[in-house]
Symmetry: D2
């Protein structure tokens, strides 16, 4: 009963069907019909013009998006536990040519306007200190917390006021949309670019960078090639994105994973470190308790010395979720 | 009848089978069993210890390999028409942090020791000029020419003499091996790293960086993550590489493509700009002749004003090749 | 009565004499006799082989030194208030191609082995997190605190144990040596490179990067040119360094500045935020008190809302120091 | 009798006077009165608004200027023998984060609109090839040739037509202005930024980056600090620039050097490889002839196997020039 990582989960059947369907000769790189149809497809989803690039990883999506917004001498305000700070092996430093991450604090790995101001306001407006050029927020956050549309709007407003660009890391954007019961447009607000993740949600190897400003996408196209991310058989990445949007597979998958997380959470409310708002649960438990869970067949990561992380996926069997809920309740 | 690009060709069935077989949960990134088995698999193929990293594109393979060999203040000797110079959107400048390509001349986009010396020898050994740190050669070359094992050996010997690292871009390494009727080890010689391409040869989205020096691979692992190329479901890339090596699919595919090229070449020997030694043909023909060919249903790229490029693939139908041979002979 | 910054102070007369003496034609860049004599000069001072490069700023000295020790995908452990983190406009990100500063805490902006371990030990040894490649400490620190030789030795020992390179930012190294009454060799310990500052200590525009590992200097020479820091009339930078070492001008100057700081400190011991160990004083005082001091003619920077920073220089008049001491005592 | 390099020449007395005059406490970095007065000073000289930054080397001036115009994924059209390509140790690759130099040909190391088109026109407008973002020309060129105002205007017009930024490397701009008997404004034309050199013309260690677009200067200020080129006692660099402009020292010096070059050229017209239009002469002569010249006491560099380079300076004694003219005539 696997709760280690949604990265380890299987690929959704619709993806396989789409891949096979795409296996006819077409123009290489992103010149094929499927790639060309993405802008319209996502524009329909968001109800506003989008320019969309596929890319194979969330790290590349985040860094390519940010590279269009931040000069090498600038900085990006992000949470001190954001993926771009903690888990991307320094990729922002590479893609942004040494631009600096300016770290803010906040419960549940979420930023607030106040937290952003606390980072930005003390920066002297002189050349000795790195000036902020952009803000990056994560929807859902590293701790599975979501930003309500009004929270996103408040941060976007601050960004506009300070003339900062704004990016959303949406590696688990689907889970956030599902939890919020909001439209994608409301969950993303007026950010300049969104890394819209599909891989953790049943995909194989394609994420979307959704630009709401076409000028940024024009830059990103060059940067994607320059980073070796323009795959020659790009139709297979485009096909995955289409398959996910067809019939709202992305949303169905996320709802399933979220429901599993809710069921487990219901069994251990008082142990939760962070409210369950997506498909990740951070549960306080001792080493002995973790040992007991593992002996019952549950796979998961330790989270420090006093907690465990459980991640549900689009295909988590309901009986696994209920078994875990019971096991946690029985601790 | 398509001769535009081997990038546009379909994916080999063995790849699809391997992908589906890999669709069980396993450790994310490169922690899975298939990824872990690659070193041994390629070591067996080359008959010496290899450390192997999968990556999604040839551009990433080339640049990650070179980034382990070249300091940012150094240079790489390569042919003036090498892929890294002409077709990678400046990726070497990005991955190598501004290191410089030092351009050499040579027939058929092949380097020789003399051509390399002509670039390296005039460089003053002082800080005002960029010093060479490595050599990169392409097997088969941009014009479909191959290096005989003794030609590779002579270049490697020069590299050692000058204390330069050496990389081989093998986007069409399979075609070179097939043409040379050599072992992979002999076709690669004693280079430090080889970008071993599979995508043009029937793959979907996985190339291998084969390091013959494990210390370089250890650096490349960090650089791959930093470049956003460590895919979270890496088992699907590893599976492709295994599928290609199983039963020598890679070699069978390359032999097929080469045979098609040979058949076509036989119909137009006197028009060939470069000897046919892989799966690319550069054929002198006028605009009118090209028009006539297109009207007969052949797809291909113009090559400047006076020539056309035809590329065969692992699945080029024999009747297409013979039709093209006849059509060219009849011009 | 100026206590704003030692950067604002005048240039020592010995520097002017040396500059005029150097104003004869000689080889450009660093080919002149004065530049060539630097290695021996500093080797004599430190009692061990040194390779020395002049450079015009402390920022360039720090970053060029670090660039020889740290790969672009690596990190540098430094204090969270270190100059390289706070005041160099992101220069380490530029010179080190996106390498990351890993921030440690510590009283008086000093690191300890424990503080370094607290940063390094939690870093997982995998490619998702930036691995430390070096440590940088500042002698004297941003708060005018010095490392005793045994403190330096303990940090160097930790660096060796963890296979990390180690750099010392010595923008005020002279003040540290003067305060410690140690030899330069003892004050620097066995670091790999020292940014030995002279500009704040009466120089005009020359700092020394002292490499105790000649191989690092060989890399730095290329990086210096590449950064546009190889001045064509380099003899004028070398001349400044010689003038500072001649007759221990550097030490005399530092002792003067330190003595002035001590005199002032004696008037306000209980107000000091940090022990006075060099030429900087951080003095708790209210806005009203600062106003009163300014009305008496003292120039200085506010340090947050509740303190002032006073910096003495090689030429601070004794009567200015005693006047400030009295004024602070009288608050 | 020294004709090796104008870099090796002495510093003009007006510079020394200005340096000493600047040796009073003032604000550090570029906050001093002299630095603040530069914009107006150069605006007066050029008769249009300028924003001016001092910097210690021509390499830094060129690269900082270009970094404001060129994205990391772009390219710069320059002559294949331009200083930025040949003699800056790869500094453009460093400062521009891997942007590429696109090399054009041209007599006397001068570009023409046709030569620029020959580089730019074949570049496919796709992401696989590096797109040009800027043009850089050198006034006077590496071979001491000058661009007439109408030649500059034609290149600027092409730049505007292609939406490329344009930079002028003016390491010897003074010599060009003096030769052309043009105003500085006419000699620079409507370029976006000019590296205005003073060091080869009797300065010590200060060049000016003259931006005719203030927005570029605002970026350059951050990049200068980030590159470690914001000297803390910047008033000494500003003072040099003022001293050079006071009473047209810069022009007087350049006229002297040019006159010496003309005198020498008159003695060897038929041997000149390039017309004498500044202070550099490239003179065909055999190894034996060079040996004979050296025996007569002339210092100079060989230029390949069949020529010698002679550089005159602001202080070349007239008798040295006439002696060399005679010696050359007598060969």
């Amino acid at each position: 009963m696997q709760f280690l990582s949604d990265n380890a989960a299987s690929v959704h059947p619709a993806i396989w069907d789409a891949l096979k369907a795409a296996d006819a000769p077409d123009s290489p790189y992103d010149g094929d019909g499927l790639s060309n149809a993405l802008d319209q497809r996502f524009s329909d989803l968001f109800g506003k013009p989008c320019a969309v690039l596929w890319v194979a990883t969330g790290t590349a999506a985040n860094c390519l998006a940010l590279a269009t917004m931040v000069q090498p001498h600038g900085g990006i305000v992000c949470h001190e536990e954001a993926h771009i700070e903690m888990d991307e092996g320094g990729a922002p430093g590479f893609y942004l040519h040494g631009a600096k991450l300016l770290l803010a604090k906040g419960d549940g790995a979420k930023l607030t306007p106040d937290a952003i101001r606390a980072v930005v306001d003390p920066i002297r407006d002189d050349v000795h200190q790195v000036q902020p050029h952009a803000i990056s927020i994560t929807q859902a956050s590293e701790y599975g917390r979501t930003y309500r549309p009004e929270e996103v709007a408040a941060i976007v407003a601050l960004a506009r006021e300070r003339r900062l660009a704004i990016h959303m890391d949406g590696a688990r954007f689907a889970n956030a949309v599902a939890f919020l019961e909001a439209t994608p447009a409301d969950a993303a607000g007026d950010v300049d670019a969104l890394s819209f993740g599909f891989i953790k949600n049943g995909g194989l190897g394609a994420e979307a960078i959704v630009f709401f400003d076409a000028a940024l996408a024009d830059v990103a196209r060059y940067r994607r090639k320059r980073a070796g991310h323009l795959q020659s058989k790009g139709r297979f990445l485009a096909a995955q994105l289409h398959a996910m949007l067809d019939g709202d597979v992305w949303l169905t998958n996320a709802r399933h994973a979220n429901a599993a997380a809710q069921e487990i959470a219901a069994g251990c409310e008082e142990r939760l470190m962070h409210a369950a708002e997506a498909n990740e649960l951070f549960v306080r438990c001792t080493a002995d308790e973790r040992q007991a869970l593992r002996e019952k067949g549950f796979g998961f990561y330790d989270w420090g010395d006093d907690a465990a992380r459980f991640v549900t996926a689009w295909n988590t069997p309901e009986e696994h979720a209920s078994a875990l809920a019971k096991a946690l309740a029985a601790l």
